[in-house]
Every structure is written in C-alpha cells, then in structure tokens.
Assembly symmetry: C2
Homo-oligomer: 421 residues x 2
C-alpha cells in the first residue's frame, strides 16, 4: 500500500485531533475504552486468525525461520493473552493529570506542574502482531494517539487488528484515528520519522538495522530500546555461593534478552577459589566461556573448554549462551571496565562490603546498578511499573524501563490574579 | 583553529573522564569549585577585558551591528555580574543525588531512583561571552563536563575565559577538561553534534539558522531553546481592566523575548467594549496592530492605524512591537486557534469563569498556560527555579524553563540479598 505525502500528513493531523479527544477523557472513560478493545479482540478472534493464517502461509512459503513464524502466529490462546494484556494496562494507575510539583512564587502566582499526554506517538516494529494491541493499549491509557507501522510479514494480521481496535474505540466514543495503522511502504516510514511537529515521539522496536536507520534519518524525537552488554562483578568480599547463583542466573535463565549478563568480572583475590566453581557450573549449563589469559591460569581442569577473550568479546552483546570472563584488581578497575565496554544498561556487584557497593553503584554509568542481585530484574514488570515499552539506555527523558509515565510530558498551569511584570 | 577528528575525540574522552570526577564530588566541594571560578574571573578581569577589546575592535571594523557589539562587550561591571551569576548558581540546591523515587518489590529488592549527572554537555552559542561562564557554572553545579563552542566574533574573549575557568577548576581539584573550549571551526562543530556516545546532550543557543542546521545534522540528543508565538485570550467573562493591563504588559514590557505576546484574541461578546480600549493603549505604546476584518469593524476611530492580519501574521513570532489581533466566538475557538498557530510556549486566558479557565488550560497544548497573568512570567527566575538554560517547547525530557535538574538523568540503584529469577 502506497500513500502519498499529503495523505500521511492528513492522517497524522487526524491522529493529533483524535489524541486531543483522548487527552480530555477521564481515567474511567479510558478504562472503558480499553475494556471495549479487549472485548472486540475476543469477538473478532476468528477473523483475526483467518487473516493471520494468510500471513503465516506466505511466511512459510518464503522459508522464514521457525522462530519468526512462531512469533507471527496467532491462535485463540494468544488472542486471549493479548486481551488480558490490554486489561492489565487498563488496571495500571493513569499517569495523566498527576501533579508532579507545585509551588507559589513571591508575587502570588500559583504554579502547578501536571502530567499530560505527549500527543502523537509512532511505533515501528517487527513481526509480532501482539505489539499492535500492546502498544495501542499503552498509548490509549496514557491519552496519546498512536501511529503503528508494522512489518510486511504481518501486514494482514496488523491490518485486521488495526481495524478491530479502531472500530472498538470509535464505538466507545474515541475518533478511530487515535489508533492509525500505516502500510509497510518504506518511503512512508521515512516520512513518518521526518514529520517534525506532527509526531511527538517515535519508538522503534526492532533490531540494530532499524536503529541505525532511524539514527541517520529521524528528525522527530526517538527513544531507542536498548542493547544490553551487562556485567556481573564478583568482589573480593563477595559471598561466593550467592555470587555463583547470580552469575549463572544472569547468564542462562534467558540468554537472548537485553538484561542477560554478557561479561563476568572476578576480583583477583577470589579468582582462584571462585573461577573453577563458576566455570564448572556454567559449562554444565552449556555456556561457552571466552576468558582472559589470567582467568585461564585458574582453569587448569577446563583448558580444552575455554576460548580466548578479545577486547571485541568484552564489547559484545552475545544474546546467546556465551560469556566473556575477566579478572580485575579492584572495584575501581571493575568500574573502569564496565564504563569502557558496557552499553549502560544493567550491572551487578556481588559484595558484603558497603564501601565496595557504594563505589560500584556511584562509579558505574548505567541505567540500573545492582548490589547482590541478578541483572535479569531490569524489566517494567519486575520493577513493579507494569507493562513497559522497552528499556532505555539513553539518558534524556527515560532511562531504564520505559513505563506509562514516560509517554507523558509536563504542562505548567499557572494561576494568577492579574499579575504583570 | 582547526582540530583533527582524533583530537576532538580525545578531548571529548578527556571531558567525560573529568565529568566522572565531578560526578563524585560532594555538593560542598562543587560550591567551593564555583567560588574559585568566580574569584578567578574577578582576578583575571584585566586580561579578559584586554582580549575582549581585540574582539570588539574587529567587530567594529567589520561593521557589526551596534546591538551585537554591545552584547560582545565586557567591562569590569559586566565581569562582576558574571561572577555574581556564578555565585547565584552555586547557591542553588544541588540536583545530584536527589532521590526521585524508591520502593520495594515483592521479592524484597529495594529500588531507589536517584538523579545523576548526564555526563558531557555541549553548548553552541553566539557572541555573548557571559554564556561561557553561565553555562560552565550550570554544568559544574550539576556535575557535568561541558564542551563550549562559541561564536567567531567572541573567539579571543571566549579563549581567555575558558582558560581562566579551566585553570581555576584545576587548582580546585577538578580536571581542566571538565570545561573544554573548542575553536570556531565549523567542521569541528559538525563532528561535535555527530559524536554519538561521546556527548550526552547538546544545547544550541542561537537563532533559527543554527537550529535548522542541528535539526538536519545532529546525531546526539539536542534540546532546542524555544521560539514563542504566545497568545493572550480575553474571555467573555474577563475583568476587562485586568485584561487591558495584561495584554499591554505581555506585548510591550520586553517585546524581543520568547515569552512576549504575539497575538491577542478577544471573545466576540466583549469585542465592542474591549477592542477600542486596548487598541488605544497599545497604539499609545507604539505597537503596530494587524487585525482581522471583524476586529477592524470595532476600531472605527483607529481605521488609519491598523493593518490587515493574514494567516501568516497569526503564525509569526514578531519579537517586535507588532501584534496580531483576532476575534473568537468561544473558549473552544480560542483553544483551536492557539493550537493551530501557536508554537507551544506560553498562553494566557483572562477570565473569571472557572469553566472557561479549565477548558483553556486543558485544551491548549503549550508548555505553560496562564489564567489571569501575563505570559512574560515563563522564565526560570520568575518560576523560582534559579538560572535557566532556556525555555523548551519540546515535550521530551524538559518542557518549559530548563533548569539545573534537567541537566541530570536518573539511575536506579537496586539492593538485594541474592535475588535471582
């Protein structure tokens, strides 16, 4: 589907107008809208599954990888899961209207800082159709219009999902343009990310290629979901049983996600005792170890099972059962290593020393810094923030799990009695 | 002065390392550093004035406008003012280390959200040398390294100011690279705004040309200081004496700034009574009026003194003694006009009606929305936030006056007792 420039502009203007209607709705009205969407999704599940079957057939015919086909697949159970996810978002506290600050100044003006929706949010994503309803729910809850641009592989699934959602919100009194589904035309995506003034935020949910494309081309504000080269540092004062459990958990519990550990650093004083234990446990879990020469000197029993770690290994987010292992002489050295090689996502120190914990937490320049816990907890759900849009490793606006409140901005409401300067 | 790519990278790395030293300093240590800078500025004033005289001579020889020469000029009194401004920043509350949130999750993890410096901030500015020390003071106070890129017209003034500041902080224990002065080479500026990962934020303080250049070329995060097409709307329920005072104040008290009023909207019900009064007052202050046909119909006595307003006039930030004037039939129409033509900066409604005030404040999509006060109060100082870096009309990270806290980000510090997933 190709859309002309004018018609994208018109659709973005319609989305903004629809967003203004949403912005004025009460929290209760928005809960009702989301419930209507959840019910429409369940009522429409047969039609959705039929369209999804066409996408699946094409994906299989073009020999798409099995994991990709699985992510694309919708059945009754998955649609029920999507409806439940919408209800979970509906149940979150409404961030709009929160008073984030307020004060009076000497001349009597009363200043109130309140949270308001951003306006129009664009989401660009790959072949998981559940992102369509997840993102729409988060946008509706936070009073924003959303413009969705999904992957070609899920084009028909997304089209029908978009229709179901738009129809449901229209029946509930929200202009359907509040959830706008674009086609999969690449030229249109380029215009979307360059529509200054018409789009308040774009969130890409895709791989490094999409990210690089936006970094080169976007002129609207973008929040990038993170890559995570996360570290676990085992200090000289660590409880080594705890360190073992955390190092293994952070690496193997779900290696393909951004908060999994990619590098283990061990203090020289405990290297001789700890490294053989942790290497044995990790190798037993099928982890490939890439180690420095000094680490290798402590792993006589595993000489054939470990590879040499290069600087590139220490800089790599493997997203796989691979771990770089190094030795440091101090907390300071660990901090320097993390700041040099890390991506600013999540790091952990295992220690009983207050001083070491403090030095590490203060020195490491990352979104989340743990003491005596696995890096795997960096997650909106685990943080108790509810659904998240991703994890941010950038420093402006949102850092760490991106929650509902990050889809809002502030507005200052100032009340006077005729004040002039 | 031309710098090679490698040397800019090295300077940015040195700035980051210096920033880490600053980030670890206590509030009291930073106050001492700022006091040392203020004293060094006073002690170095003769040398600064001598270098500034060379810049001034060149500026005059090249027939620079008198206002530009005046902004460039430094004398003893202005340097004392710069030192006082540094001390005022030193006296502000330190934003670093503020706990912005904290909670425990069911598994016992303790999550603390704390404010930390951004890291390295770039500021690109025009020919006012006081920006050099103002910006450096704000960066030092918020624990950030700063990379300054001033205008060619002030090159020698900025060079000596940069040296004075760097020497002073070095003597106070901060690596001098925490305040890094670049040359005026344009190629180097381009590399600065494309130095992804090495610069956490760039703030341009210049005109629309600089802004457009950054919008096209920047790959690092940027916060743009605002343009302001601000509105005053006089409602049917307004106290017309109050409305008159505010409309005149918002237009004439300082017309060249971003929070001055550019458009006056009047409700049809009070147009006949209010417009002749306000037109008389504004014309007496030397304001040029550009009015709609309906407005003109109420201004029989001033027919020769008013021009016709076009849509372009309503969209223009005049920054001058010029005002567009229109009539609307309702608060809703006023809101729509503001959202169509405004720049999202500051707007005011004058009314005694709670419903009108609420409709206007809720509906207008601007950083600051006033009830019964002049738009001229949108200012860090007037808001009681102390020194500001500018006013933001963007919605991400900072909206409204950009204060010290906006030069920080959050870091989550999570403490556990061995938790794994």
């Amino acid at each position: 589907m190709t859309t002309t420039n004018a018609s994208l502009d018109e659709r973005l203007d319609a989305a903004r107008a629809a967003g203004r209607v949403l912005a004025a709705m009460s929290p209760g009205e928005k809960v009702d809208v989301l419930e209507a969407v959840a019910q429409a999704l369940l009522a429409g599940s047969e039609a959705i599954i039929a369209m999804n079957a066409d996408d699946l057939a094409d994906a299989r015919q073009s020999n798409a990888p099995a994991a990709m086909v699985d992510r694309l697949m919708l059945d009754r159970a998955r649609i029920e899961g999507m409806a439940e996810a919408i209800r979970a978002v509906a149940a979150l506290p409404d961030p709009v209207g929160t008073i984030s600050g307020g004060w009076r100044v000497p001349n009597g003006l009363e200043i109130v800082e309140t949270r308001v929706p951003l306006g129009v949010i664009g989401v660009i994503y790959e072949g998981r159709p559940n992102v369509t309803t997840d993102a729409a729910a988060l946008a509706l809850k936070s009073g924003n219009a959303i413009v969705l641009r999904g992957s070609r592989i899920a084009a028909r699934s997304n089209e029908v999902l978009g229709e179901v959602v738009s129809d449901a919100i229209a029946a509930a009194g929200v202009p359907p343009a509040a959830v706008t589904m674009l086609g999969t035309d690449r030229e249109e995506m380029l215009r979307l990310i360059q529509a200054e003034g018409k789009v308040d935020l774009v969130i890409p949910r895709g791989g490094e290629d999409l990210k690089a494309y936006l970094q080169q081309n976007a002129r609207v504000p973008v929040i990038y979901a993170a890559s995570g080269n996360c570290h676990v540092y085992v200090d000289a004062d660590a409880d080594l049983d705890e360190a073992l459990a955390i190092a293994v958990n952070a690496k193997v519990q779900r290696p393909g996600v951004c908060n999994a550990c990619e590098t283990l650093l061990v203090h020289r004083e405990v290297a001789g005792e700890f490294l053989p234990r942790v290497a044995g446990a990790l190798l037993a879990e099928g982890v490939e170890l890439r180690v420095s020469d000094e680490v290798r000197s402590h792993l006589d029993g595993f000489a054939d099972d470990v590879a040499e770690a290069t600087d590139e290994d220490f800089a790599t987010e493997f997203l796989d059962l691979i771990l770089s292992v190094g030795i440091v002489g101090s907390v300071k050295e660990a901090v320097d290593h993390v700041n040099r090689f890390g991506s600013g996502h999540s790091e952990a120190i295992i220690t009983r020393s207050l001083d070491a914990a403090r030095t590490f937490q203060q020195g490491v320049d990352s979104a989340v810094v743990y003491v005596n816990a696995s890096t795997r907890f960096t997650d909106g759900g685990e943080f108790g923030m509810g659904a998240e849009i991703g994890i941010s490793t950038q420093k402006l606006h949102a850092r760490g799990p991106i929650g509902l409140a990050d889809l809002t901005t502030v507005k200052y409401l100032v009340t006077g009695t005729g004040q002039t300067r």
